[in-house]
């Protein structure tokens, strides 16, 4: 890990990224954004609603092309296609209701061309890692929202992504489940050594999980603040009782408050 970090300082690099939607009326959704994320970092993005967080994610994984600027993943530029090594977990329930949990997880490897045995091993591992072993023959409709989101994370995990992008993955879950899912996400991050980029609207979630949090402005979204949390790598949701946690959350909120007011004013 440390060798890679030396030879390749940035895992993901955005420079001068702007995203505009053609009109009429044309919408300037994002940027310009310059951002580098070192390999293995847990980076979160918070911002007022409608600030282009999801657009940032689309651009980052190659689902959308930036109008200008460049996105580099592991040194090579993205060209409108999701490259190997990036896994994405969406906010919406993206489990497939016609497949069992196991089949859902295995879906990630359907085009991989890996031998059956290896597929089975990876699926078994991901299913039990996400605590779904007992439910592997269940169908999504028989599971709770949190469990379905775990299925989606497991489906990403089997691909052994080096960069995991999560777009408000716990947005639809209740607070307790979110805290526990946060712990699981931290465990996953530690054990896979992957770089994680989490988009969230929950300041406490960002403060609790991340090494670094980027605060975005109202549309067009830009980074207006970067906050280093300084948590140790083997942290869990109990950092919420750390006095520093309050300081971090307070700083995030003071950066964000004005921007949130802007969007409220715009909406009114």
């Amino acid at each position: 890990m440390s060798d890679a970090a030396v030879s390749e300082p940035s895992h993901v690099a955005l420079s001068g990224v702007v995203r505009q939607y053609e009109g009429p009326p044309a919408v300037h959704a994002l940027g310009p954004i310059d951002l580098t994320i070192p390999r293995g970092e847990f980076f979160s993005v918070v911002g007022p609603s409608g600030c282009g967080k999801s657009t940032l994610l689309d651009v980052l994984c190659g689902l959308a092309r930036p109008t200008s600027g460049s996105v580099k993943f592991e040194g090579s530029e993205l060209h409108g296609e999701v490259p190997d090594g990036i896994g994405v977990v969406f906010q919406e329930d993206a489990s497939m209701p016609w497949l069992s949990v196991r089949q859902n997880v295995a879906f990630g490897l359907r085009t991989s061309g890996l031998p059956e045995k290896e597929v089975a091993e990876r699926v078994d591992h991901a299913v039990s890692f996400m605590g779904l072993a007992q439910f592997s023959d269940h169908y999504p409709a028989q599971l709770s929202g949190g469990m379905r989101q775990r299925v989606c994370i497991a489906r990403t995990l089997v691909l052994r992504p080096r960069l995991i992008l999560l777009d408000e993955p716990f947005g639809a879950l209740d607070q307790q489940t979110r805290l526990l899912m946060g712990d699981e996400l931290l465990r996953l991050w530690r054990e896979t050594g992957a770089t994680v980029l989490l988009i969230t609207h929950a300041l406490d979630e960002a403060a609790m999980l991340s090494d670094r949090v980027g605060v975005m402005s109202a549309r067009p979204g830009r980074f207006i603040d970067m906050v280093e949390t300084g948590w140790p790598r083997d942290r869990d949701s109990r950092v919420v009782s750390n006095p520093e946690f309050g300081t971090v959350t307070a700083r995030l909120w003071s950066s964000l408050r004005e921007e949130s007011l802007k969007t409220m004013g715009r909406a009114a």
């Binding site: 994984c61 689902l63 329930d93 993206a94 497939m96 016609w98 359907r110 085009t111 409709a141 028989q142």
Partner: protein, 253 residues
Amino acid sequence: MTRRRAVLLVRIAVLAGLTATLEICCRTGLIDPLIVIPPSEMVASMIDRVGSGELDESIVNTFSTIALAFVLAIGCGTLAGALVHRSSRLRDVVDPLLASYYSVPTFIFYPLLVALLGLGKAPLVVLGVLSGAPAVMISTLSGLDSVSPVLLKLARVHRLSPARTLWWIVLPAALPRLFSGFKLALSYALIGVIAGEFILSGTGLGFAISFAYQSFDNRAMYGLMLFVLLIAVTANGILYVWEGRLARRRSTG
């Protein structure tokens, strides 16, 4: 499970009760046997007719026509639905037409079809397709609408080709709605073909029923009617069970 079984039992009991009542009414002369024959006689007549072999050709004819109309209705309906789904402008034009389609009695075009296509299988197939395809088209549109956008995004994240996206994501996601269209298409194809044979045809079960009716052969008429009814119920039952099996996975429990 026990509730489902109980419902099934009651349903069977209701049907059996109605049949028994009819039987009693006919046997006691409450209903003139010249108008309706007792159900037991209908069954006996059906077994006679179908067992005699004289109807073999009609049966093959009718059901091959229905099968052809059904398959074509599914093919045309799905394809047309998929095409319309691609263009929102076309959709705006077509939607109200589809919604009002079933207020048009398609049968009135049957004489025209016969004039155009002759008295063979062709006008019957066209009638069956005309009855069934729009239902499939409607269900295809609503099925494609029901595919969640996040699953299409997922397909892009997994770099699936358009064919694989269709086969692995769009079709299974839309299947429950598609299926309800298929069920309707089967019923409509059956109704269209048999009714067509009834009106203007020289072959098939519909014609056989109409012929028996016109020659005052009540026994034959009721036997044949029962046969058609049984086949229709069985065919629909098979689709129903199949659909239920697909749906059970997707629901809780």
